[in-house]
């Protein structure tokens, strides 16, 4: 077992443990904070994959914005955060079964695939992923249309969310 593998296993264990806490914690603010630690673990996974930009964007967007939005939303919808009553459905075992089956099915499907245990090539020296990323985001042969459409999507989300959350007809 090499150093990279040990680091990966530690990060994966941390991520999955936090993810389990996200779906089982009763207190929703705690669940949101566990989500933050899961997301941080995922960011470390991106860093292990040499995707520097994605890793740092994960922290900026998910931890810096989405997690904050979640915490705000929890505060806005709870008069008392120490919520009584069950947090989990009566038939939680069915959900657990479906989740297990999904994982087992995915693992089974993947294990039959030829590229399953592929190893990665070394990054070439001086490999500049950000510059390549910038090029593919704006070049007409690559992804300029998704780039602009993402802007439209964000606009639609902003307008929609503002309209839905604060419809003045109900005050």
């Amino acid at each position: 077992m090499t150093g990279a593998q040990i680091i990966f296993l530690m990060v994966a264990a941390f991520t999955l443990l936090s993810a389990v806490m996200v779906v089982t914690t009763r207190n929703l603010v705690h669940a949101a904070l566990w989500l933050v630690s899961t997301l941080f673990g995922v960011a470390v996974v991106y860093a292990l994959l040499n995707a520097n930009f994605i890793a740092v964007v994960q922290v900026v967007v998910y931890i810096g914005a989405i997690a904050i939005l979640f915490i705000f939303a929890v505060m806005l919808t709870r008069k008392d955060m120490r919520d009584s009553g069950p947090q989990i459905n009566k038939n939680w075992w069915a959900g657990a079964l479906v989740a297990m089956l999904t994982f087992a099915g995915l693992a089974f499907l993947l294990s039959g695939w030829s590229g399953f245990s592929k190893t990665a090539a070394e990054l070439p020296a001086g490999f500049d992923s950000i510059s390549l990323l910038g090029e593919s985001l704006v070049s007409p042969e690559a992804y300029v249309l998704p780039f602009e459409v993402a802007s439209v999507l964000l606009l639609a989300a902003l307008v929609g969310a503002v309209y839905v959350a604060f419809n003045p007809s109900k005050k």
Binding site: V36, V56, V59, V60
Partner: protein, 398 residues
């Protein structure tokens, strides 16, 4: 290669030799040496932080025509150490209703979010920061952890003032992050890199000359991000009795306090790196790394001094004014400036250097002037709407 020219390399090689001599393998020895280096840097920063307390108190005293600490040691220099001892031997109370784990985690994360910023600071030509090709965004990522620590502190204290203070602070921090992100794009455009080392290398002309407005907006956003006056309504001593850190005492409060001061100094440093050439000063940085570090510290101190100057000159503004100022003025202005900069950069790409600098400078000045004129006419209309259109006429007839 002597100690004078490259102290870090010499010391690292020497230490690595010792560790390898003890029977460690190369990689382990290297990691240990880097770990010790990081520990040394952060310890020095904490010592600097202690002196920042003294500097801050002395400067505010001078601004307010007082003497400041002057009893312990020469010029009161021992005073901050006495403060530290006081913080350590103070009883560390935890509110009974608090959420203990989150409550204790918040000050640690707050301090960490400041300390990790130094991972990307280039100290001298031979002491570059981590060669991270996303260095500029790293700044925002660390800030995200800081924001999170404040919301954690505010929520976990289970105190109304802490809650309101924490929420306000987070609302302000996230709002001003938009202009800050936009202004970070400007050095990125000029240097064609997000790497802090590359940004310093590319600054043959300080970026403050080609983007003075950008430097100004970055400073304003940084002050808001730091939560210092005039944007300090999270603490708002007179309204919220210290805000999010109200329930903290002893060293936990000390962590928030020290973190805030070091954060201000660090942002002074980033201001210097992004817009004032970092450690570069007319080639002096090549003489010795010690001189380069001194130049960087002086520049960072100047930036820190400007932040203090603003803090002790301006009064606190209300949260609605602050958010309006950000979303209705600063954010549109920073987008406009970004687009103007991008456009001018493309148009002047083949122009000689002096024309490029002049064009950029003028474009900035014109953008800022137009923005000010629009803001002025908008506020004039607002004033007339509130005071009534006839007020001026009535005053004139007196």
């Amino acid at each position: 290669m002597s100690f004078w020219n490259d102290p870090l390399r010499v010391a690292a090689d020497w230490l690595q030799g010792i560790f390898v001599g003890w029977g460690m393998n190369e990689t382990g020895a290297h990691v240990l040496v880097v770990f010790l280096g990081v520990l040394l840097l952060i310890t020095l920063l904490m010592v600097l932080d202690i002196f920042l307390v003294w500097i801050e108190r002395k400067v505010v005293a001078r601004f307010q025509d007082r003497l400041g600490p002057n009893r312990l040691g020469p010029f009161g220099l021992i005073q901050p150490f006495a403060d530290i001892i006081k913080l350590i031997i103070k009883e560390d109370t935890t509110p009974g209703d608090a959420d203990k784990v989150v409550y204790n985690l918040a000050p640690i994360l707050s301090m960490m979010s400041v300390l990790i910023l130094w991972a990307v600071v280039p100290l001298a030509p031979v002491m570059l920061g981590t060669d991270l090709n996303v260095g500029v965004l790293f700044l925002i990522a660390a800030g995200a952890i800081g924001t999170l620590s404040i919301i954690m502190a505010g929520w976990a204290s289970n105190n109304k003032f802490a809650m309101i203070g924490g929420f306000r602070q987070v609302a302000v921090m996230v709002s001003f992050e938009v202009p800050m992100l936009t202004m970070l794009l400007i050095p990125t455009i000029f240097a064609q890199s997000m790497n802090m080392n590359a940004i310093i290398d590319a600054q043959n002309v300080w970026y403050v000359w080609i983007s003075p407005l950008g430097a100004l907006i970055f400073l304003i956003a940084a002050i808001a991000e730091l939560g210092r006056a005039p944007f300090d309504l999270a603490e708002g001593e007179s309204e919220l009795v210290s805000g999010f850190n109200i329930e903290y005492s002893g060293m936990k409060f000390g962590m928030f306090y020290a973190g805030e001061l070091l954060h201000a100094f660090t942002f002074g440093g980033f201001w210097a790196i992004l817009f004032f050439g970092g450690y570069r000063f007319f080639g002096l940085e090549q003489v010795s790394p010690f001189l380069a570090i001194l130049i960087l510290i002086i520049k960072a101190m100047l930036g820190y001094w400007v932040i203090m100057w603003v803090k002790y000159t301006m009064m606190r503004i209300r949260i609605d004014q602050m958010l309006s100022f950000n979303w209705k003025f600063l954010t549109p202005l920073s987008f406009a400036l970004l687009l103007v900069t991008a456009l001018m950069n493309a148009l002047l790409a083949s122009a000689p250097t002096w024309l490029y600098i002049l064009g950029m400078f003028l474009a900035n000045v014109v953008t800022g002037w137009i923005a000010l004129e629009i803001a002025r006419s908008a506020t004039r209309q607002e004033r007339e709407r509130i005071e009534g259109p006839n007020k001026k006429v009535a005053e004139a007839s007196h």
